[in-house]
């Protein structure tokens, strides 16, 4: 196993140029906490961002931060916290789910579009990523976007690269817009609601003027014996006080909510963000993205065909985390059949290599869009050296 660890962009370009003629494929590695993601790679060489670290720009008054791709996420978050700021999209930590060690990097957050519960209101990583520098499959440095929030100059390659799982290029530097940390955080919690009631509550709250920043429903048995329906408010204390009251009033039919504060609230949301309820089990874990009100419909249909399935809802019902038996195709046929009439799609996040090798980890697209996908891959990486087959077989 060869591991290339360039310490400059020029070295990274040289590594790519050195392998491109012989078509030696590369796995791209940040902190190595998400190696179980995507289709298993059959690759002998690794290109690591571990030698590219450090914050290169931080202007709190402009709400922008840039860092080399291998910078640990924690360093970015601590730097921001010192000035009372944060990444807006609450990136998930995959270590509990994958049982992995190491330090997640800011580059991987960009490459895999890693977001969390705040996505429902503040957008995903792709909405805050405003600039990238990368090495393409020709060994050229390519930049897109920049350090300003509003930028429509040319094709938005930033978005393409965000969520491409390393298949389009090796990120060397990423730039994010950031936001002030809220002065206070409070969670409202209702108990004992069914899935459909819980999601209906979340829909009402998200359609209210009171701006919940996160909205989740945990069916009974996940975090205690009772189902929990959760709304997180982030604001100045006087606003939280007022909005909690108004929401309790608006949602009175669902009972009187408890208020969770401090570490109790934070720990619960970390569990939701990281799907940590499924940590340490042998179950396969899926991530379903669909219209929020379709969440309970999909889950109950899947529950009927896959006994023993467990799930919970984030994003107001629009993100269903689902754990099923990893046997066979890990429920792929049943899950995708359940989604067919509803729309949306399912991604297999955790499963043994043998399962991920035969199941479409990312849902296949229509024929014209698969052609576009293959074309885009080729336009960045004509020799197919970056993470071949990580997202789709043959691409």
């Amino acid at each position: 196993m060869i591991v290339h660890t360039p310490t400059t962009e020029a070295q990274a370009c040289a590594v790519v140029k050195s392998v491109v003629d012989n078509r030696v494929p590369l796995v791209l590695r940040g902190g190595g906490t998400r190696e179980g993601f995507g289709r298993p790679a059959q690759v002998a060489s690794t290109l690591s961002s571990a030698g590219l670290t450090g914050i290169t720009l931080y202007e709190p008054a402009e709400m922008v931060i840039a860092a080399r791709a291998g910078t640990p996420l924690q360093v970015v978050q601590e730097t921001l916290a010192e000035r009372g700021q944060m990444l807006p999209f609450e990136p998930m930590d995959h270590r509990p789910l994958f049982g992995s060690d190491g330090a997640p990097t800011i580059g991987a957050v960009a490459a895999c579009n890693i977001s969390g519960p705040r996505r429902i209101n503040a957008g995903a990583a792709r909405d805050s990523l405003i600039g990238v520098r990368m090495v393409n499959g020709r060994g050229e440095m390519v930049k897109s976007g920049g350090r300003v929030m509003k930028n429509v100059t040319g094709l938005d390659l930033v978005k393409l690269v965000c969520g491409s799982y390393g298949t389009l290029g090796f990120l060397t530097e990423v730039t994010f817009r950031v936001l002030p940390k809220p002065a206070e955080i409070t969670t409202l919690q209702w108990r004992g609601l069914s899935d459909a009631e819980g999601v209906a509550l979340l829909s009402s709250a998200l359609g209210s003027p009171f701006e919940p920043m996160a909205a989740a429903h945990l069916p009974a048995g996940l975090a205690g014996e009772e189902a929990l329906t959760l709304l997180r408010l982030e604001n100045f204390p006087d606003s939280i006080e007022y909005r909690s009251g108004e929401l309790a009033l608006l949602l009175g039919e669902y009972g009187v909510p408890d208020k969770l504060e401090g570490e109790h609230s934070a720990a619960l949301w970390r569990h939701i963000r990281d799907a940590a309820f499924f940590a340490g089990t042998g179950e396969a874990v899926w991530r379903l993205s669909l219209k929020p009100t379709d969440g309970p419909k999909a889950a109950s249909a899947i529950g009927r065909t896959l006994p023993g399935a467990r799930w919970f809802y984030d994003w107001g019902g629009g993100l269903v985390w689902l754990a099923v038996s990893a046997d066979g195709n890990a429920g792929a046929s049943a899950i995708r059949a359940a989604l067919k009439p509803l729309g949306g799609h399912a991604t297999l996040v955790r499963a043994p290599d043998a399962v991920r090798a035969v199941v479409d980890v990312f849902q296949r697209l229509s024929e014209p869009l698969m052609r576009v996908t293959a074309g885009i891959k080729k336009s960045f990486d004509p020799a197919g050296i970056f993470e071949p087959g990580r997202m789709y077989a043959g691409i």
């Binding site: 957008g123 995903a124 509003k150 930033v158 978005k159 491409s164 729309g343 697209l365 336009s379 789709y392």
Partner: protein, 478 residues
């Protein structure tokens, strides 16, 4: 004024015009095909009116299938296609060329579905921006991106240009508010990307299409996020002695953890022009004006304003004027949103759209003034202060070709300045033809080549809106 070059029209296409028109006539109903000189004339330009080209023909389809049939035909015939929304582009994004067919989506103007529980609306591409909000406002919802042209501009055009507006500091621009599109590819295949859910599988094609300026396909339908409006909104005027103090106040407000829903800046010339037009009650004795809008309940707005006013006082604010009624609030925004129109009453102008890091504001304002003065012209500045998106309006007389050329040159100098200080050529208007030849200032050869290779995946032969975005020299087809 003809500084910006167009590709030479293809003589072969011009010679085949009759046959091409006959072919189009077989694909769409007669009322959807415009061929006479008089009726083609309105399509010869957009809001960048200094440039005009009469298109070969104009097609106004009513369905996605008609768009597909016309695109397939144009590909077979090798005829360039210019997608068009409402024709409000300030960068010339919808200006045609003599050998091209314009495909306008203005007849596709139906709202197809509104789903409040899932907070989405599905609309055809020709629906105007404001019509989306209009359709959901009775339930207290709105569509967030609000370009100044929102009364006229279409959702399809907004997607093409990734349009912004005054309120994107909090709510984002078009790309942050579109969840799905139906798009017709050049070969006539119809694809669905995204939908009512928050993220799409595979590469972020939705993110690529937003802001692609009609070069990848024609969007015929879109699913957009609708948001519940705040309980109340209140714009407040803050007058400062100088632009520097106003800029410092903006930085301090953000530094204090406050993100107002909008922060708009106007300099003295802009204040005078807008006040004369809108009678909004803008203070006339200040050097710079901020319009800061806060949202929430009355008590929440009072509390947030108290914080903002305290910061503004530390930065020498001389006037604080709250809107006391909905009418006053509307007048404040009318003044700002009519800045372009009001300027047009006193002079011809070109409106630039660069973005800068906000910390560079004092330097850029000073340098812009020097640049424009060096050409013997005047400039009025309005811009989105929170995100550094500048709209300098360079005033000139369009009947004087020398002055017109000077205005264009001054504008180009300003955009180069924006790039030099770490910003970009365009924040929300798009590259179009206007900034096409400046792309090499922001991007090097490898950057542009990568963009063109991605473009070629959708259109190998440069048929879709071909004169735009990329310099005419050095184009890559695959």
């Amino acid at each position: 004024m003809s500084a910006i070059a167009f590709p030479a029209p293809d003589a072969g296409i011009l010679a085949r015009r009759e046959a091409i028109v006959a072919g189009l006539a077989r694909l769409v109903p007669p009322q959807a095909l415009i061929t006479s000189d008089d009726e083609r004339r309105p399509y010869e330009t957009d809001a960048l009116t200094a440039y005009r080209r009469l298109p070969l023909a104009v097609v106004l389809p009513s369905t996605t299938q008609e768009v597909a049939a016309v695109l397939r035909f144009c590909l077979e015939q090798g005829v360039p296609v210019i997608p068009r929304g409402s024709g409000t582009s300030l960068s010339g994004g919808a200006i045609p060329q003599e050998d091209a067919v314009v495909i306008g989506v203005s007849k596709m103007n139906r709202i197809l579905e509104i789903d409040y529980a899932n907070r989405i609306a599905k609309v055809q591409a020709g629906v105007t921006n404001l019509a989306v909000t209009g359709a959901v406002s009775a339930e207290g919802f709105f569509y967030a991106p609000d370009p100044s042209s929102q009364l006229a501009c279409s959702i399809g055009g907004n997607i093409g240009m990734n349009s912004g507006g005054a309120h994107c500091l909090k709510y984002g621009v078009t790309t942050n508010n579109v969840l799905g599109v139906t798009m017709v590819m050049l070969d006539g295949s119809v694809v669905e990307i995204g939908g009512g859910h928050l993220d799409s599988p595979g590469y972020d094609l939705l993110g690529l299409i937003n802001g692609s300026e009609g070069q990848l396909g024609i969007v015929t339908e879109a699913t957009v996020r609708i948001l519940r409006a705040a309980e109340g909104a209140r714009p407040v005027l803050f007058g400062f002695p100088s632009s520097e103090q106003a800029g410092a106040a903006v930085a301090a407000i953000i530094g204090a953890g406050i993100i107002p829903v909008a922060m708009e800046f106007m300099d003295k010339p802009a204040i005078e022009i807008c006040e004369a037009f809108a009678k909004a009650g803008y203070p006339m004795d200040c050097g710079a004006l901020l319009i800061i809008e806060v949202e929430g309940s009355d008590a929440e707005m009072d509390a947030q304003l108290a914080r903002i006013v305290a910061i503004a006082r530390e930065h020498g604010v001389t006037t604080v004027k709250e809107s006391k009624s909905a009418m006053e609030a509307a007048a404040i925004w009318k003044g700002r949103k009519s800045a372009f129109g009001a300027t047009g009453r006193i002079a011809d102008y070109i409106c630039m759209d660069g973005t800068i890091p906000t910390g560079q504001l004092p330097l850029v304002l000073r340098r812009m003034d020097e640049i424009v003065k060096s050409y013997g012209l005047r400039v009025a500045n309005v811009f989105h202060a929170g995100d550094g998106n500048l709209h300098p309006l360079i005033l000139y007389n369009c009947n004087d070709p020398v002055e017109a050329q000077k205005a264009e040159d001054a504008g180009m100098d300003i955009l180069k300045l924006c790039v030099e200080v770490g910003g970009c050529l365009t924040g929300e208007h798009g590259v179009g033809i206007e900034k096409r030849d400046l792309m090499t200032f922001q991007f090097n050869e490898a950057d542009l080549a990568q963009q063109m290779r991605v473009r070629a995946v959708f259109d190998t032969g440069w048929l879709l809106n071909p004169a735009k975005v990329f310099p005419l020299e050095g184009r890559i087809a695959a």
